[in-house]
């Protein structure tokens, strides 16, 4: 498969009055088209920082980021759904298009279709406060998909949800991403989630984030994420990555 995004010797440091915080150090990574890649690492190591740099929310301190596609568009799904309470679900989903001034009739119809396909048709004209946490997160995903991005960045998209919702939603989100044929980069600290969803897993060291190891995930009988958790290789990967993370209390 073709490489869609090359991250080359990426560095990032934050400054405050007292010190320099090195958050990302020399991270090199190739992302292939249509793959689902997860980034795991101890909390505070610099995972979100990498996504923020990719989506232009933060400036990099050094290194190169190259997109092997013209006008490669990124969609960032943040940890918090941040749905605007004064906008209906549909209006929330159109936000990205409005900002990029691409709110054509055609694009609007595509978003409505997305909402229909993924079970949100009846809620289109409702306001976010009438939706459950899992639904809200699904709306957030569709809001991200609405601008038709080539690459999706997902920052711990399920972390605010209870366990059952999280399982069900990760199944949904996985299906949606595959059906829409998107490349996805997901940050998580949940190993099981990473293994059950990903084609590859990047393990980062604690701060400053460096690439410690990259795993290709091969599961026999790979199907939906919930099902993948029952594959026999699952626990082997889990143990290996757990040891890489080197968690001490």
């Amino acid at each position: 498969m073709d490489t869609i995004l090359k991250i080359d010797h990426l560095n990032k440091s934050y400054h405050d009055m007292k010190s320099v915080i090195l958050a990302v150090e020399d991270v090199t990574l190739d992302i292939k088209e249509k793959e689902f890649i997860s980034i795991v690492g101890p909390s505070g190591c610099g995972k979100s920082t990498i996504l923020s740099i990719l989506s232009n929310l933060e400036k990099k301190s050094g290194g190169n980021i190259t997109f092997n596609k013209e006008n490669c568009k990124l969609g960032y799904m943040l940890q918090k759904d941040s749905l605007f309470p004064w906008r209906t679900i549909l209006e929330n989903c159109l936000l990205g298009l409005e900002i990029n001034q691409e709110l054509t009739q055609e694009n609007k119809e595509r978003v409505v279709r997305l909402l229909e396909t993924y079970g949100l048709k009846d809620f289109m004209d409702k306001y976010p406060d009438s939706l459950s946490g899992g639904m809200r997160q699904r709306v957030a995903l569709i809001r991200t998909l609405a601008i038709n991005p080539d690459i999706l960045l997902l920052d711990e998209p399920f972390s605010a949800l209870d366990y059952q919702t999280r399982l069900a939603l990760s199944d949904d989100v996985y299906k949606i991403i595959k059906q829409e044929g998107k490349t996805a980069i997901m940050v998580t600290h949940d190993l099981a989630e990473a293994i059950s969803l990903s084609d590859r897993i990047v393990v980062l060291t604690k701060r400053p984030a460096k690439v410690k190891k990259i795993y290709d995930i091969h599961l026999t009988d790979k199907s939906s994420p919930i099902h993948n958790r029952k594959c026999k290789e699952f626990s082997i990967y889990y143990d290996k990555i757990w040891r890489d993370l080197d968690v001490h209390l």
């Binding site: 989506s55 232009n56 929310l57 960032y76 943040l78 918090k80 941040s82 605007f84 004064w86 936000l95 990205g96 409005e98 900002i99 990029n100 601008i147």
Partner: protein, 264 residues
């Protein structure tokens, strides 16, 4: 009827009774107060020269009404208040927007705003009269000094406490600053606007009355001042009553606007 329905009926009846009791008590208080006041005055237990009486207030009101001066005074006060309120709102939103847009400017002016805000503005009254002149201008100036500063501060604080997550979200769509302002900052601050309009109208009225007490030849503030100078307590108390009604009505209009805005 099921037991639930009966229970619900009882609940409704209880609520209704409670409401009626409250309204009755409210009316009773004002009636007892007015009647008591009138009786004390009639029986010469209090000196009406100092305390006036409801009867005197009514006859003062009637004579003001007949000499036509009444509505002019009310109108002048209302006009000055609305003028000051409007200018303060425009200044407040404008300056708050500039401060939000240019954080450096906000940092620079911050201590000045704080000092001006905490200064009791009445202290500047005499200076304002000397500089601006004893006219309606100094009344408006006085009112603005009181209402505009607090409006700026309230709206700016509202802008600054816009949910960071909303802003990050818009930035992730590569939004420009103006888009962040119009899509997130303004709409998420509807409550801030309403609250500062409420404060603004009260502050404008306070400022206008203060100005009228100092310089004016017209308005309710002037009537109060004039009444006290010629020791016409009937006039003073009538004016205070009118002021209470005017101030309540203006506040009421803002709450009507609030209901309209919140519905959406």
């Amino acid at each position: 009827m099921s037991t639930y329905e009966i229970e619900h009926q009882q609940f409704l009846r209880k609520k209704k009774r409670e409401k009626r009791l409250i309204l009755f008590s409210q009316i009773a208080i004002i009636v007892i107060f007015l009647v008591g006041w009138e009786l004390l005055a009639k029986s010469h237990l209090v000196n009406t020269f100092l305390t006036s009486s409801p009867g005197n207030v009514i006859s003062t009101f009637v004579s003001l009404h007949q000499t036509n001066g009444l509505y002019n005074h009310i109108w002048i006060t209302v006009y000055e208040t609305i003028l000051s309120f409007t200018i303060a709102t425009v200044i407040g939103i404008g300056v708050a927007t500039i401060l939000w847009w240019c954080p450096k400017v906000a940092k620079i002016v911050d201590p000045y705003l704080t000092v001006i805000n905490s200064l009791p503005k009445v202290a500047l009254g005499p200076l304002i009269i000397i500089w601006v002149g004893a006219s309606i201008n100094s009344i408006i100036f006085m009112a603005l000094l009181i209402s505009a500063i607090i409006t700026i501060i309230n709206i700016y604080n509202g802008f600054m406490t816009t949910d960071e997550n909303f802003i990050t979200l818009l930035k992730s769509f590569q939004a420009k600053k103006s888009q962040i302002f119009f899509k997130a900052v303004l709409p998420s601050n509807r409550l801030t606007f309403i609250n500062s309009l409420k404060i603004n109208i009260s502050m404008s009225l306070i400022g206008v009355i203060m100005g009228e007490l100092l310089v004016s030849k017209e308005g309710l503030g002037y009537l109060i001042m004039y009444g006290s100078q010629v020791f016409n307590i009937d006039l003073v108390i009538t004016s205070v009553f009118l002021l209470g009604i005017v101030s309540y009505l203006m506040y009421y209009i803002i709450t009507l606007i609030e209901k309209k805005l919140i519905k959406k």
